[in-house]
């Protein structure tokens, strides 16, 4: 376990060194401050409670949108991947929604539903669902027909089939969608927050960008990244290792 932890630590340390070099070359703390120059602002924001407040607000939105988008996207992707007919009908919609600019969807949601949390979360979800759907659909198209036949002949229940036959085959696609998904969601949450919320990391980042305070922008951005790294290491990767056990055994 200590061996497993040491490489990521060393790797992150390498990134830090790269940053230091870049900052030294840039030689302009307004464009790229040295990593340690962020410690002060970070502690200040932490103590004032601002950081945690905004981080909490963003995380809440990300979690909601993530859960909704994954649930809807997986269901849609599964159905579209398995049933050619449904796919034919829904595919053009998928392309349209996939390529509808975030801005348009967000503004429409805000105008229809109001400038509130529901609208924000729905906007993010709508933006993200098509992404998840496309990835899962590819996975569903690659199902092994022999296992399907086996499950059918032995009359496995729908739930068992889903859980033990289909989802394990989808696993790499689900992890890809989840990982990429979190990142995309958080990018959209930033836009959503900057277009119509009064809290959240996106709100703060845009604020400080307007003020050209790159240090604060980085403090907020990196706080979220730290949370994401924690999520990677405590949830996603252990889960991945578990579902991949059969491959390496």
């Amino acid at each position: 376990m200590s061996g497993r932890g040491s490489i990521p630590a060393a790797s992150l340390f390498g990134l830090l060194i790269l940053w230091t070099v870049a900052a030294t070359l840039t030689a302009d703390p307004q464009v790229l401050p040295q990593p340690w120059a962020l410690a002060g602002p970070f502690l200040r924001e932490l103590q004032s409670g601002d950081l945690l407040y905004h981080l909490g607000a963003t995380l809440l939105r990300v979690i909601w949108a993530f859960a909704l988008a994954m649930a809807i996207g997986c269901a849609l992707g599964l159905v579209m991947g398995r049933f050619e007919k449904v796919d034919r009908w829904l595919d053009p919609w998928l392309v349209v929604f996939l390529n509808l600019p975030a801005l348009v969807l967000i503004v429409l949601c805000y105008l229809w539903i109001g400038l509130n949390e529901t609208a924000a979360i729905i906007a993010v979800t709508l933006n993200k669902v098509p992404n998840v759907t496309t990835v899962i659909r590819e996975g569903a198209r690659a199902f092994d027909p022999n296992l399907d036949a086996m499950a059918r002949v032995y009359r496995m229940s729908a739930w068992t089939r889903l859980r033990h036959v289909l989802i394990p085959q989808l696993a790499p696609f689900i992890t890809a969608a989840a990982r990429g998904g979190l990142a995309v969601i958080w990018k959209i949450v930033l836009v959503v927050e900057f277009l119509g919320r009064s809290s959240g990391i996106g709100f703060q980042i845009h604020l400080y960008f307007q003020l050209f305070d790159v240090a604060m922008v980085l403090v907020y951005a990196l706080s979220f990244i730290a949370v994401m790294l924690a999520v990677e290491w405590t949830f996603l990767q252990p889960w991945e290792r578990r579902v991949r056990r059969w491959r390496v055994a």
Binding site: V153, Y154, H164
Partner: protein, 206 residues
Amino acid sequence: MIRIDVTSKHYGESQVLGPIAFEIAKGETVAVLGPSGIGKSTLLRIVAGIDTRFEGTVQRPARMAIVFQEPTLLPWRSVIQNLTLVHPDLSRDAAREMLAKVGIGDKADLFPGQLSLGQQRRLALARAFAGNPDFLIMDEPFVSLDAATAQTMLDLTKTLIRDVGPATLFVTHARNEAEALSARILELRGTPATLGPHLISAKEKP
């Protein structure tokens, strides 16, 4: 009572099966013989209801068990789960006992990918036997096994047929296997494949 009445089966342009009709009574065993590539697996898939793109009708019971020509296991679930997930009513103890019968009792907690191919095939057999099916379909069930193990499997099959009494349909290249199970023999011939002239079945011989 199982009634098979296939008029024809095409893959694209080419016709693989011609008219094939036969019945299997409860407790009866039928062996399908024929050269490689004639259409035996195709026929079995039609009988099992996996392939529905054919002309004709098939009557079959609901409780079926199948042994495919390849093991077709869930590689991401343990050996024992490959039994218990497919047969939710099967207790873990019964499952272990079944594994022991086919000679892989010590492998219960491995993944199928950690078994040798012969062991995987035996797991597939165990899975088929565990459900006490009304209709047992097997596609070359005893290949890739050494003589002693093959004999054990054959005996297990005999015991199942005696105790549970399913209708059995299986493909084999080994006439002695068919005889050991006292099976009625159907031989596929020609292109498109049809049933060859009636052969003396193992049952009728003595």
